[in-house]
């Protein structure tokens, strides 16, 4: 218990020394709060409510981000869209992390035919552009949010297999792992106590980066009409709907786009910050 405390404190200490890490964390935090607001219905209006008298209004005190061609409040819709994006991405990345890390660590540690099999299969997955594969899966599964999440999760699993497997191969060759075997420790113990803590850092970094890619993929799918269906808002769909309107109602395009960009920038900065904070080589200097 004490052990853990010190470790996280140390990493946090180093994390807080990186400017980009702090900026990223703040951006992501804002977006998460926004999403949570939407979960509890703390939005100015119902996202699907049509204000017939206020079609295509510019940003104002009543409608902070203006209204769209159905008179719906863009601000409320953006919040709701952000919540959907985050829900899908977090579910997808959790799935990919659990599957990928388990198979990656096992493949790296067990080696031999199992490693061959896992790398071959993940190579096959890798041979696809992610969005295309997700597209195919969504096309046949359906477009409920969990279908999208499942599709993105499957597509990102091989990334986590690679990220986990690589360091395991390196760590496995370290002298302290050999010594653990001579000391008669079980494989499970070696994996849990000696290998996992040492491959943890790249996985955490990858989670942050994958979340950002997942958000891009999710909004890309819904932009193509293969994700969330109208009238439920989603950021990609809002951009798609804004295409014919943008010329005279810039706010319909700008705000959802801005939210996607902010959260993706934030997650990338968090990833960079984590990479620096969790790398013992950079710390010791």
């Amino acid at each position: 218990m004490k052990n853990k405390e010190i470790k996280t404190k140390g990493a946090l200490h180093y994390y807080l020394q990186s400017t980009s890490g702090i900026v990223g964390a703040v951006l992501v935090l804002i977006m998460v709060i926004v999403a949570i607001c939407s979960i509890f219905g703390i939005t100015p209006y119902d996202p699907v409510e049509q204000h017939i008298d206020n079609i295509l209004q510019g940003p104002s005190a009543h409608f902070w981000f203006g209204t769209d061609d159905f008179g719906r409040d863009v601000f409320s819709r953006t919040l709701e869209g952000m919540r959907r994006s985050l829900t899908v991405s977090i579910t997808a990345v959790s799935l990919a992390t659990i599957l990928g890390v388990t198979f990656g660590i096992l493949a790296g540690y067990v080696g031999k035919w199992f490693d061959q099999l896992v790398t071959r299969v993940s190579d096959v997955f890798f041979a696809f552009p992610a969005i295309l594969l997700a597209l195919a899966i969504v096309a046949s599964l359906g477009n409920a949010w969990y279908d999208t999440a499942l599709a993105i999760g499957v597509v990102y699993t091989p990334i986590f297999i690679r990220v986990a497997r690589g360091p395991v191969l390196t760590v496995k060759e370290m002298d302290y792992i050999k010594i653990s075997r001579v000391l008669g420790f079980s494989s499970f113990r070696i994996l849990r106590k000696h290998i996992f803590p040492n491959v943890f850092a790249p996985i955490v970094v990858q989670i942050a980066l994958s979340l950002s890619w997942a958000i891009l993929t999710e909004s890309g799918l819904s932009f193509l009409g293969l994700g969330t269906q109208p009238p439920t808002p989603s950021l990609g769909l809002m951009v798609s709907d804004a295409q014919p309107l943008a010329a005279f109602a810039w706010w319909t395009l700008v705000f959802p786009s801005l939210f996607i960009t902010i959260v993706v920038v934030g997650l990338n900065l968090v990833g960079d910050g984590l990479r620096d904070a969790l790398d013992p080589a950079r710390r010791s200097s």
Binding site: P129, L132, L135, A136, A139, L226, G236, V264
Partner: protein, 317 residues
């Protein structure tokens, strides 16, 4: 004893085989078939007899294995299967759409690599400086602004403010009308190029910074080699390996990005072909088109590997 490239070829074939099975299963096993695709909710109104007939018509009454074999057979015999609704062979569709996507991909890759390496070098020259910050900011934004946002923005501004929108006209191949083709490809190519440039820039920057601290760079300085020569001959040359890897990986994402860009800029490429087929539930078309994509990607990987061997003498064997 050993035939050069044999194991390589075999592993490429094995990967393609795996892909074909995977694509097939994803689109067949999962509920929803061509009938529901074609008739939508009206499927419920069909009699069992009609459904059985339709199943025969679409070839989905057979076992999965037979379906797979018949698809692969038609794929390999050059027709790539048929689109059920129009009866046109997928090969015919692909013949006109593949060149569009390839042209787009080449423009995107070249732009992305040139831009990415240039900005990466610009950034790495003085780590921590203002120019480094500017370079990194570009990388970050290029990574974070989705292609569809950038494309929509470009279309909006160009079409409405400048009344310039070449993609509004019918698509022209470079042979029919090179100038028109260039104008039509310019913006979608730029959008893809920026998407490729971001990771290439980041890789270039970190590879350069890492190589600068290597022993052999110190040796070169110690020999009295002029600084600019050290940078090009020793630092950049050794940084190319990760840059090539990253470019190869990006090619896959680029093909994915093509789907979105082709839709927005109304280019009749592979991406749009797949999208249309998905909307119409033309499984054979989707399957075969995705196979074509996969083959392209695998071939790019082989090319990356060949370039690798050219750059790095250590992996000759």
């Amino acid at each position: 004893m050993k035939i050069p490239g044999l194991s390589r070829t075999l592993s490429v074939l094995a990967t393609l085989f795996g892909i074909s099975i995977f694509v097939f299963l994803v689109l067949r096993v999962i509920p929803g078939d061509s009938i529901t695709g074609a008739f939508g909710i009206e499927t419920g109104a069909l009699t069992p007899g009609q459904i059985a007939e339709l199943r025969v018509y679409y070839g989905i009454d057979q076992s999965l294995l037979l379906q797979y074999i018949s698809w692969i057979h038609s794929f390999l015999t050059g027709k790539l299967g048929f689109a059920y609704s129009t009866g046109v062979s997928v090969a015919t569709l692909t013949k006109s759409s593949l060149p569009v996507t390839i042209e787009l991909a080449i423009i995107g890759t070249v732009l992305g690599v040139v831009l990415g390496i240039a900005i990466g070098m610009f950034s790495a020259k003085k780590p921590g400086s203002t120019r480094d910050f500017a370079g990194q900011l570009f990388g970050l934004l290029a990574l974070a602004i989705p292609g569809f946002v950038l494309s929509t923005g470009i279309v909006t501004v160009m079409a409405n403010k400048f009344h310039y929108f070449p993609n509004g006209y019918e698509y022209m191949t470079p042979w029919e009308n090179p100038w028109m083709n260039f104008q039509q490809m310019m913006f979608p190519g730029l959008v893809l190029g920026i998407a490729v440039a971001a990771p290439v820039m980041r890789t270039t920057r970190s590879a350069l910074l890492e190589t600068v601290d290597k022993d052999f760079v110190r040796t070169a300085h110690g020999k009295g080699v002029p600084n600019n020569k050290v940078q090009y001959r020793h630092v950049l040359r050794n940084s190319l390996i990760p840059i090539v890897t990253m470019t190869g990986i990006q090619f896959g994402y680029l093909l994915g990005g093509a789907v979105i860009v082709e839709k927005i800029f109304a280019l009749p490429g592979m991406g749009r072909q797949i999208l249309d087929a998905i909307m119409k539930r033309e499984y054979a078309t989707v399957q075969s088109s995705i196979m074509v994509f996969a083959i392209m990607f695998v071939l790019i990987n082989v090319a990356t590997d060949v370039i690798y061997r050219k750059i790095d003498p250590r992996i000759k064997k």
